[in-house]
């Protein structure tokens, strides 16, 4: 019965990882860069949720969209202020594209961590739960109310996102730009606006992931580091740039991590991601759903 309980909890954590990793995969799909500030989108979401619900005393159900808004705004700003040189074609560009992206997003990550550390404080906060049911049993699975409701919200978000990408005009534009930026703009798609949209969506999803987890993990300024590292493992496992790969890989990582932490070692559960990363890079560098691994 323990195995079933682990499976359910692993799947739930997998859903949160998926919310983060999908945004990362989308950004990679379109710009071919890794956003090293992705963990800080998560952190900003968690903090907005906690501060709005604690300090303003409003219902957490209002704080949740507030966190989404903060993440979306941050994503929009990052694209508007920092990502434009990647595709605006600056003539005397000293850095190459990849180097610029690594330097800028890594710098942004440190900047946001330390800004929050200085303005809000280095202490961790306890987030208000969305629903006040402590532990209950669903068949053999033990759950807390917060975990269950957060998982439902996370699954709903993924379904909405999948429908948005598959069905809506904007979603199709995103797919087109990811396939071929030049081709898409020749067909009349505003590639810059689409990239902006992608940053808004991935900022929002990462922030929501942070907000939903806030009551479970007690946010502190560096809370984003491990979710971010895990989403890097996930996007490599799922295949860089593949959204569906990222979703599936997130569930795989969540479940296998849950089993690892119980049957092998709890202290080293965070190291498990590295083992998966090493195995993927050794055996299948293109990931589960990636295109054929591009070698030099």
């Amino acid at each position: 019965m323990l195995a079933l309980d682990l499976l359910a909890n692993g799947l739930i954590y997998g859903c949160f990882y998926a919310l983060m990793a999908v945004g990362l995969a989308m950004i990679f799909g379109v710009l071919k860069i890794v956003n090293f500030a992705h963990g800080e989108f998560f952190m900003i979401g968690a903090y907005t949720y906690v501060l709005v619900s604690l300090k303003l005393g409003v219902s957490p159900w209002i704080a949740l969209p507030g966190a989404a808004l903060a993440g979306a705004l941050l994503g929009w700003l990052v694209e508007r202020l920092l990502m434009r040189p990647l595709y605006a074609g600056y003539a005397s560009w000293g850095f190459m594209k990849d180097e610029y992206a690594v330097v800028v997003t890594f710098g942004l990550s440190l900047l946001l961590i330390n800004l929050v550390d200085k303005t809000v404080g280095p202490y961790s906060f306890r987030g208000e739960p969305l629903i006040d049911v402590s532990r209950f049993a669903l068949g053999p699975v033990m759950l807390t109310g917060q975990k269950a409701i957060a998982a439902v919200v996370a699954v709903l978000l993924m379904v909405v996102l999948a429908l948005f990408i598959k069905r809506s005009v904007w979603g199709k534009q995103i797919q087109a730009v990811a396939q071929n930026r030049l081709g898409a703009s020749l067909a009349g798609i505003d590639a810059t606006r689409t990239t902006s949209l992608i940053f808004v969506i991935s900022g929002m999803l990462a922030a929501l992931s942070g907000a939903l987890l806030a009551p479970l993990v007690n946010p502190s300024p560096d809370i984003g580091a491990f979710p971010a590292v895990k989403s890097y493992v996930i996007v490599v496992l799922g295949g860089m740039g593949s959204m569906w790969g990222a979703m599936l890989a997130a569930l795989i990582l969540g479940v296998s991590e849950a089993f690892f932490s119980v049957y092998v070692s709890y202290d080293y559960r965070d190291a498990f991601g590295l083992i998966i990363l090493v195995l993927v890079l050794l055996l299948r560098p293109q990931g589960l759903f990636g295109e054929k691994g591009r070698t030099v």
């Binding site: 890794v34 000293g94 710098g107 800004l115 991601g273 590295l274």
Partner: protein, 315 residues
Amino acid sequence: MKPTANLWQHRLRFDMRAALVICGLIALVPLFVTGPYALGIILVSVYFAILALAWNLLAGYTGQFSLAPAAFAMIGGYTTALLDFYWKVPLALGIPAAVVVAALFGLFLGKLVLNLSGPYLSLTTLAFAEIARVVIGNSHEFTRGDQGMHVATLMQSRVGYYYVFLAALVAVLVFLYWLLKGRLGRFMMAVRDDPVGAESRGIDVVRTKMIAFCVSCAICGLAGSLYGTFSQLVSPELGLLQQTGLVLSMVVIGGTSSLSGAILGAILVYLGSEWLRGFGDIQIIVFALLVILFARYVPGGLWGLIAARLQGRKP
């Protein structure tokens, strides 16, 4: 303007001379600064200069972005500490062992990812750095966890240590100059500028990247090991991502693809961060902001501006 002013060989020689001048100035500092605390600050900035040179070889000259220079310094420090603690290995063997072990870790990570193009190196080194720190911090029985480990020291004299670090810096500098001057240095820059073109001209791209990565890791291991014996303590804090961020900001602010830029950046950023500490620990905020601004608007860094002025070309 001399016709040779833009030739690579000429620029490298000019760069090297400037770097040696900076080292000469650093060597004179103990004549004027005698306080052990102030001297310690400059000593640590020399430690960071070594890390910055190592990272710059990889990022600036080969175009490969590792996010783990601090983690490799931590591995170097722990190698010396563990050898000393468990097997009483003398430092004369413990410090070279740190260089070898760091290079071996580099070899292992490099074998995994350097044959792939794309951001795999940055991703893997970042994951490696974070997880290595957690593993060391959690291994209470073996590494004493977050408390850190005591390390033997080479000497008690702080001025003596100052010159040990400076000697290490000059040695690394001369080695990198020799490396960059030769074929391998050209290969590295070819790989940075156009990997496909380099491959088509018969350069073994993966091997070149591998050498650059292992050399960079080995230098980081050396720096970390020396730093451990100086502070007589190694702890997982050596490998914090913030330390990597400092190294990165030193190179970006000082000037990528430049020997003297990395040293200049290391000294300026570290002294600046000690100064800003007085204003309520805002140093990381300031330097993270500066990194973004420099990468965006001054891609050549400070050295790019200075060198252009000195050599009479347009920046």
